[in-house]
Amino acid sequence: MPIQLLTTETIGKIAAGEVVERPASVVKELLENALDAGARRISVEIRNGGSDLIEVVDDGHGMSPEDLAAAIQRHATSKLSAFEDLDTLRTLGFRGEALPSIAAVASVLIASRTADAPVGSEVRVDFGAVGPVDMAAIPMGTRVSVRDLFANVPARRKFLRQASTEAGYATRVVSSYAAAYTGVAVTLTVDGRRVFGTDGSGDDVAAATGVYGPEVGQAALRLVPLDEAAAVPGVTVTGWVGAPAVTRSHRNGLVFFVNGRWIQSRALSFALEEAYHSLLMVGRHPVAVMHVALDPATVDVNVHPTKAEVKFVDERAVCRAVQRAAHAALLGAPQDALPRVQFAASAWQTEQRPMDLPRPRWGPDPDTGRETASAGDPAPEDEKHASGVPILRVLGQVGGTYIIAEGPQGMYLIDQHAAHERVLYEKILTQISGRMADKQSLLDPLIVDLSPEELGIYERSAEELAQIGFDVEPFGEGSVAVRAVPAMMRNVDVAERLRLILKELVEGGAGDSWLDSVAISTACHTSIRAGQPLSLPEMRELVAELERSSQPRACGHGRPTMLHMAQADLERQFSRR
């Protein structure tokens, strides 16, 4: 076949493939255009996962008929005139690809009116075929309706997921922008149902409540400006992070905007989660919306047509700023928000089992100490340790695993393994701060056979293990000799526990340094296990030690150590009120 120039239509389709991957990309492009147009109100509507209709209506400054005709030309943009301008870019769009790309693969109707024009204009583009510009009746702003997306690209249409999945992707886009652009009132309607709406009041928490609901709104901790010592020069981080009590099983709740542009960054997600270190359960992720503002010259947004990825000149500085901002906000979080066990509100009225315990709900205790006191509870009000754990009276053990205790505000269930792990973890940290931990020598060296994998991780961790109190040396092929163990490791099978520690480290550590990871694994595998019956004095001692620890509410892996069942809930369940 002779070499020939591609037709405009083909070029359009190919370029569209880069920008318009799926309905959510269309939503993102249109949303960004609306924001660039200075809109105060934006409404987004999606039908059938975006295949039937995507419509974005804004009240921005609109376009004149001439602009409208130009807008659908490739690389036509109002936002950039020369490449150098990229360095000082403050708008979301700039490539001039979005509208023509969308118009190449869908039937698009654009209507717009500027403030000073008496009447609006509209233009229709059907799969690249541009129609004439007509007059149209429309309020100030722009309305873009995209129908029959990918109808002319069957291959791509085939690769779309179910309508509900595609709607989910689109929802994530709209909710991220809505939560970030707090000054813009954004509403989203999917298949005729209003999914959420923000008030555009400019308040972070109000926007978070509007988008993610009151549970997240209540847990949102505003980021505060850092003091000079902690601040990273040239990088400003604003927004909010969710309290550790509100988590997700995925990272979709982590929203980052860099200079107003929504981006995906593993590095930033990682940096943020580091700030939650040991406060979250393994496999749970926080919720946060963070704006990172920095000199446009230090960030390259032109990495990818969808602009979802950016390159930082100094990525570590940005990560540091994110982490410090989140850490500062978390330190200010209320310390007494224990996870609570709550009964389904109307469980006793229905046919359900009366003791149907739903999964524990997380959140601050709405029942104040005052209320409990008026209910005639003789327990001292708000008597707590500095750590935020109330003084507890141990009552017994359930299933050889959970300690039941009574406190001033009801019943507490304590996971003995997680609690002991936290206690040991802090003991190890105290011991190794600035020195080596105490250790107990063995009568004769214990030879432990290791798998090649375990041996590899042992070699990597030898120094850390020594700091924590293990005296372990290589011993022939495939085994090590243990000469001393940490002093706190008592009455346990040393060989088995050492292997468990190494096995966990093979899977990657849970701490923020390797030493920390080794400490967490050591604490986990030398502590009391679940299913081990404890005597009352043993349980009392454990609870007292937990009360004394500095972060008693989660073990080193971030699993909760205790659950709270409020007195009021018990009374409600027994129909006392």
């Binding site: 105290t430 190794i432 080596m436 105490d438 063995l442 009568l443 002093a487 009455n491 346990v492």
Partner: protein, 380 residues
């Protein structure tokens, strides 16, 4: 079965064997006690398959027979009866034991004695040794506590008993400490024999020995899998732990750089005081040994403990010290354990530096040796 016996004999026997009754078992008959007529006496036995206890009491037998009934129920009922003859009777096939004392009576539903495990008897065994009961009891108390409490190395959860010539050696080690005690046999044994006994079984044996004065006969069953002990009118059976005990002799240091002797009572008190502070710091107790100013002048041992949050303590014990000034740290519990089983008088401690094993002995007797591994205190 139809027998009559005295209430206090029956009560004592039931209390004796009840220690071998299984508390949680899938086999109901193991929570029962066996009552059987045996050559004009009543045999009472219980076993949890780990240990077994059999004892005999005098009884007048009118009709031979045997039965098993719930040990706890029978024990509790008999305890409340007056000290008077008790009539026991079983009417087969219903296996109900009727227990009668005067007008008080009970019928206890039982299980056929044929279901009860056979407990081997002491006769015609391959290996027999005799030992003084009070010596054996003391030996057990000095060694048994050093056995490991976790089951990771089964031999270490047991106590080694070595019969050799005319001596019996008991040894136990849990990886951090070692206790070795020698005692004399009534007569030499023909060949050396090593067996390993569960620590728990030895504790029961010491309890059964109580204040008995008749020599204790130890025998190994022909299968070499069980130990049988005859104590007065009672026979005790224990399974043996299979395996080879580590060579403990090589662990015991023979010479010491530093050696001290002091009053056991004074040292024990000092350790106890320090242990209250050591509790919050991994039970670390430090010993600082100060030799006398001049030769033949008494020195002292400084016993100290520090817990960062609680405070610290310091005690001094006069001691005769040979060797240079030195410091060593031990687990307070290990020290307390060994000091508690030493006889009154003087204690000897030998050591070769902060990282080497320490030896604790009675200064007057060489037959007991206790080795404790030190704790290594983290460097700043």
């Amino acid at each position: 079965m139809k027998v009559s016996c005295l209430q206090d004999n029956l009560q004592r026997a039931l209390a004796q064997v009840s220690r071998a009754v299984a508390s949680k078992t899938a086999l109901p008959v193991l929570s029962n006690v066996l009552l059987a007529t045996d050559e004009g006496r009543l045999r009472i036995a219980a076993t949890n398959l780990e240990i077994g206890i059999t004892t005999w009491i005098g009884a007048s037998v009118d009709e031979e027979g045997k039965v098993t009934v719930d040990a706890r129920l029978l024990n509790e009922f008999v305890n409340t009866l007056p000290n008077a003859p008790v009539q026991l009777a079983v009417e087969s096939p219903r296996m109900t034991l009727s227990v009668q004392s005067g007008r008080d009576k009970a019928g206890i539903n039982g299980i056929d004695a044929e279901d009860f495990p056979v407990i081997p008897r002491l006769d015609g065994d391959a290996f027999v040794a005799e030992v003084d009961p009070q010596v054996l009891r003391e030996m057990i108390s000095q060694v048994e506590f050093a056995a490991a409490t976790d089951e990771s190395r089964p031999v270490l959860a047991g106590v080694l008993a070595r019969f050799e010539g005319s001596t019996l050696v008991l040894a136990a080690a849990d990886g951090f400490r070692l206790a070795v005690r020698e005692g004399e046999l009534a007569s030499p044994v023909p060949e050396r024999l090593d067996i390993i006994l569960p620590g728990r079984a030895l504790r029961e044996l010491a309890r059964i020995i109580g204040d008995q004065t008749e020599p204790v006969r130890l025998a190994i069953t022909a299968s070499k899998s069980q130990l049988l002990v005859r104590v007065g009118e009672t026979e005790f059976l224990s399974r043996l732990i299979e395996g080879t005990f580590p060579d403990f002799r090589q662990i015991i240091p023979r010479e010491f750089n530093t050696r001290l002797e002091m009053s056991r009572d004074a040292f024990q008190n000092a350790v106890r005081r320090a242990s209250y502070f050591a509790r919050d710091n991994n039970d670390v107790v430090r010993l600082t040994i100060h030799p006398g100013e001049e030769e033949f002048m008494p020195g002292s041992v400084e016993v100290s403990a520090t817990a960062a949050e609680r405070g610290s303590s310091q005690s001094f014990v006069d001691a005769s010290v040979t060797g240079p000034e030195t410091q060593i740290a031990f687990n307070a519990r290990y020290l307390a354990d060994v000091l508690g089983v030493l006889k009154n008088g003087k204690v000897m401690i030998g050591m070769n530096g902060a990282n080497q094993a320490g030896v604790v002995r009675s200064a007057e007797a060489e037959d007991y040796t206790h080795v404790i591994m030190p704790m290594v205190i983290g460097a700043q």
